[in-house]
């Protein structure tokens, strides 16, 4: 990205003073182009901060097993990674920042101690700072949304991007609750996001049952991402090395004055019934008989 920017600026520079292009040595040209770049950057103030929520969940490709006592899902010795929708959210935030429309991307995670790994992944992808709210126990979307509201009051971002749902509970509630608590507009199931800095608004294409709906939101706003928004980038080694030195701030729910006790309680978790083997029928009459008497569909 840096390389591209330099080349672009060099081109624009040579356009300015064509007579000097033969005379100046390459070293001077580079220095000058850097100055031009800095001048260009001063004009529109890109101070907007984007806050992205990431969650540590069981990896998407792992076969889930229910614990024998039906109290939950087996999470010991199981590969955990970032929620795929959160990856897409972070990728979108990074693209907005790279387009020059935001100055900083802050990755936030709420969870136990090991969630720091997911935060490191986010930092390795390119987020600038991390915030880790250490909270143990089952966290339901309302508690998460309240914690988010508290963090927003501290950080004051211009845009919040979340994944549409977490693959471990499939709630699809956190983004909407955050928007409700803050009183901000929301664009959920985003499959395209276009930010307009001057008008301080964002156009979001939403994937709804009937097709695509385009909404225009005033900033600050909440966006939740759907699958087709983008393809997340890989964490490259140079970024992983840089991620080690990026700052991560820790909070606890008590510090933020948020109660995480929930009105909901998970009573039991069971596997869905196993798919029964098909039955071969020998004639159409037998098929109709089975449909009527056994399956009760006709």
């Amino acid at each position: 990205f840096d390389q591209e920017k330099k080349i672009k600026n060099r081109e624009s520079f040579s356009f300015w003073i064509p007579s000097q292009s033969n005379v100046c040595c390459p070293f001077k040209l580079t220095l000058s182009s850097l100055i031009v770049a800095r001048v260009e950057h001063l004009s529109p103030p890109a101070k907007m901060k984007i806050m992205v929520a990431v969650k540590r969940v069981i990896d998407y490709a792992v076969k889930i097993r229910v614990k024998p006592d039906k109290s939950g899902v087996e999470t010991q010795n199981v590969k955990m990674s970032m929620n795929p929708f959160c990856e897409i959210a972070l990728e979108e935030a990074l693209r907005i920042k790279e387009a020059g429309l935001a100055s900083e991307v802050v990755a936030v995670t709420i969870g136990p101690k090991q969630s720091i790994d997911t935060l490191r992944t986010g930092l390795a992808m390119g987020a600038d700072r991390g915030i880790h709210v250490e909270a143990t126990g089952d966290l339901f979307p309302l508690a998460v949304a309240k914690l988010f509201k508290a963090l927003v009051e501290i950080e004051k971002p211009g845009l919040i991007i979340l994944g549409k749902q977490a693959i471990d509970n499939d709630c699809n509630q956190t983004g909407q609750m955050v928007a409700g608590l803050l009183g901000w507009p929301q664009g959920t199931f985003a499959s395209k996001v276009v930010l307009d800095k001057e008008k301080q608004e964002v156009m979001v294409d939403r994937e709804v049952d009937g097709g695509l709906e385009t909404v225009c939101l005033n900033l600050p706003a909440v966006i939740t991402t759907d699958l087709r928004l983008n393809q997340p980038r890989y964490a490259t080694l140079p970024n992983i090395m840089k991620a080690k030195s990026k700052p991560v701030k820790k909070y606890t729910p008590e510090e933020l004055n948020v109660g995480t006790k929930s009105d909901l309680e998970v009573v039991e978790i069971t596997e869905p019934p196993k798919r029964k083997a098909g039955v071969l029928v020998s004639s159409v009459d037998e098929l109709i008989d089975k449909l009527r008497n056994e399956a009760h569909v006709i």
């Binding site: 998407y60 076969k63 990674s81």
Partner: protein, 492 residues
Amino acid sequence: MTTAMVEKYKAFYRLLNKTSRTLVDRRFRQQGQCARGGSAASGLDHRPDAVVEQRVSYLGCPKRGLWTSARASLPSFVDGGFARDYPMNRCRSFGSVAGEIQRSSKFATLNSDDVAHFKEILGERNVVQDERLEAANSDWMHKYVGSSRLLLLPKSTDEVSRILKYCNSRCLAVVPQGGNTGLVGGSVPVFDEVIINMALMKQVISFDKISGILVCEAGCILEDLISFLDNQGFVMPLDLGAKGSCQIGGNVATNAGGLRLIRYGSLHGNVLGLEVVLANGDVLDMLGTLRKDNTGYDLKHLFIGSEGSLGIITKVSILTPPKLSSVNIAFLACQDYLSCQKLLLEAKRSLGEILSAFEFMDSVAMDVVLNNLDGVRNPLAPTAHNFYVLIETTGTEESYDKEKLEKFLVGSMESGLISDGVLAQDINQASAFWRLREGVPESLQRAGAVYKYDLSLPVEKMYDLVVEMRARLGKQKVVTMIWFEMAILLYI
């Protein structure tokens, strides 16, 4: 000598005498032309564009008279290095298109009585002469086509034994076939041999949860075995790109290496027992499940890698390692071949016991994959890298392994061994990396006609081969190479 040992010795001797008659044409041995399995060298008969494909092995030569190691004509710099090391076992023999291979008159032709007899043994459904025969006659690369007129699908060892006994008495040539995913034409008939396909023998016989020893029939598909073991918390010691269709019997018969060779070793170490049906119908039960068994001669090693020339494997007993939870993959780019070699050494040193795969491909292979497969993208930035390396680690502690891997990668990056790299963050990204590497044969096939060579060379000289071949063949042909551990696959 105990009676058990005497019996085994007698069996061995009978084996040597009997197998040559039905499965290997004696004429080849007399002329000094030799092949591992009759069809390998002779599969190049009337196809004018075919080139010799032979397993080239420098690692010693078994008994003279049974088979001798063949050496295709390689560039002189390779040849010179080894002439001094193995002076006694050197024997030059060339298989080339110039020598036309005829169907031997010693083998009988199939007639309707034979077909009726097979139907009696196997039943109507498992004697195939319809369109499935076409698929069985042609190999996966569509390079070699036989003209067999009969495909048999036995369901038990007893049926295999009766088939072979009959074929032996009638002197009918036979080719054993597994998943038919081999890339060198060893699984398809040369002329009109009867094809015996093991696809219906796909039962898992037993699995010992404590020791991890799996006993299954030879027709079990590798991917099915992997998912079965997954539920038990174990994993197969070998993993190939073709795992969706290849059968364990075929893997054992060809001594398949696969992606995990660097970690779990070859099949010679992992197969604990075999049940084999010899060419005359005798069933050799060597299906032990003991990790160590020194009674008598260890005959099963003859069959591992015999490519179906000594007998048909019907049951396999294999040791499976436990499944370890923490798997990490990195996809790296190197500037030159020397760095790749140094990287391998460094990986073995720094990653030590957790290293489970080290794969190499060059930029040409990457381009072919990106152009011909859907849904793949280059994990690294589009700037041209010359070589790509995929490193996988498998261990028990997620955080510890990741730390170790990151330390190794950061160290290699700082010392300049790798120019860029990406670490997979979840299983989807890991499968994407593997798709790139495993998709090379498939995408090459889509790109055009392929000549594939499986070679063993000293590590330093490996890439010189590619450079030399590119110089000889010119820009029109794509010459590329991938390697896993010590073996290389050269694609032209």
